[in-house]
Amino acid sequence: MANKIDMVTLNVVNNQLISICREMGYVLMRTSYSSIFNEGLDFTCALATPEGEMIAVAEFCPAQIGAMPVTIEACLAEIPHDTLRPGDVIVHNDPYRGGCHIPEHTVLKPVYYGGELFAFFIIIGHIAEVGGTAPGAFIGDATEIFQEGIRIPPVKLVSEGEDVLDVWKIMLANVRTPRFNFGDLRALVASLNHGEKSLHRLLGRYDKRTIAAVMHEILDYSEGWMRKEIENMPDGVYEFTDYIENDGVVPEPYKLHVTITIKGASMLVDFTGTDKQALGPINANYAVTVSGTYNAILHDTDPDIPKNSGCFRPIKIIAPPGTIVNVDYPGPEVGGNTETHPRICAVVHGALSQCIPDKTPACDGCTAINLAFGGIHPDYNEAFSCYHIEGCGWGGRPWGDGLTMLCIPNGNCRNSPVEVFDTRYPWLTLEYKLLPDSGGPGKYRGGLGSERVVAATAPITISALGSNYETKPWGLFGGQGGSNAALHIKTKGSRKWKTIQEEFGTVCNGKFSGLRVEKGDMIRIRTPGGGGYGNPQARERALIQKDLEAGFVTSKSAREDYAYEEDLT
């Protein structure tokens, strides 16, 4: 039986557990091979109880945080506790068994102490290359899961400290960049080992019963805090609808609908009324929908609530099977984690804006602007495969402007610096800038989107999966929408920018796969700005002048959207 723990010890030990998870992230950052790991930081490290409840997590990629309990449960359903041994590492990436999407690889390590299973360390990390019909995993026009890459069910990657060579061989034989994948998988295992050693050190400092008690009490503590937050929201039923413009296969919009019921200290988030699953890869699965919902709620509640499974207990989610929020096998779903996840966040914010308007933001860019590409690098004579993301504008908030050119809320990833991007891949970056007037006008303006122009220095195969090329991020309470995304190509010798649809005849501008660009071709990527919050004419005049001086807003927009004449004195 666990001890009762005082508040000081609870917080000190909990923060040490979180620090271990952060350290694991730094190990990954410093030892991985792919830029999506060591530059993008597209991973999350956590600690869980033997029963699979997440206790501590490092603040890397929110898309993976809420999904962790679902993923752990799936792993343990197939590899039960009595088959686990010290030194084991399980690997898993199957989106139909609790994974987010195929690139997100889960690795799970049981930690034993005194001969007993004490905890699990778990990492979900984005492996850039997973096989499939084109490099980089984002098959924007996939129609079934098999086109999206190799699925790994929960299996032992390491058994009692020894590599399970057969599994490594199968995994590395099915990807275009085995050396990079090997390096990233090794980094994941090294990070787990670091976590295990650090936890053993902590167990040596405190007694086992104290740590175990903290692990269980912190869950109750978070649950209580979240219940208080929900209790402070007015009871009621709040609904919101938004649309994803197309699925990459059929050029028609898909509806995403949510009904949130607040009753006392509990919340029911029900996606009934959402469209049935898409033919193309915008489908989310249950883990993604759960994660997207938690993500939004964590944004709209006290940021100091310890992030663990406890704070999710008061929230029940209904994601009807066979819809775009819970795809049935074998529907494609790689974009569910990057396009539908932020849209799920957006509709949850939209619904909650009716009951806690002082806490919820307007819509962000709602797309990762996924660009996946690969080929043979002429300088290194080696295959490369890259998953690249761009920042968008975030929505204006009740207390301030939206963040500018930042990876959407599900990713929280960094962009690759130009120097790294151009060195590691055969592109030359020609322009990279913020887009004036891209942030939706509002009392609190939406954050700005960006524009990047790159030229291919070798033949490259590209795929894309993005959104908001036709729709705009919405504003709230009189705030206006942000700008659209756009993707253009100018082939070598041409003077005209064309959409991908015009040049290649794809169904959609932002979702396609396996297109070849030649040396000298240029690609222009524009990302959406965030929606504005509140009436633009209520914006502080000094802030508009500041925006004009910074080049964030043009004189025309200041005049037309904000009724403000530039002060040239």
Binding site: V70, E73, A74, A77, E78, Y96, R97, G98, P153, T272, G273, T274, D275, K276, Y286, T289, K316, I317, I318, A319, P320, P321, G322, T323, V325, N326, D328, Y329
Partner: protein, 65 residues
């Protein structure tokens, strides 16, 4: 209690991904199983089972589209 997590007895592959018909969560065991018109339904919790039947009797608010 039987394991319904879609595995054949040899555990080589998945036969069927079983989801709770209300909330969509994967179901691993038949603890909250029920039956509708001869078809077995596997719920993830007592709450989902009760809510499913409550909604089924209210045609204006069915859980499926």
């Amino acid at each position: 209690m039987n394991n319904v997590y879609r595995k054949p007895s040899d555990k080589y592959y998945i036969e069927k991904y079983v989801k709770c018909p209300l909330c969509g969560k994967l179901v691993y065991e038949d603890t909250f199983a029920d039956e509708k018109e001869g078809n077995k339904l596997f719920f993830c919790s007592e709450w989902c089972r009760d809510e499913y039947w409550r909604r089924s009797s209210a045609p204006s608010r069915r859980p499926f589209k």
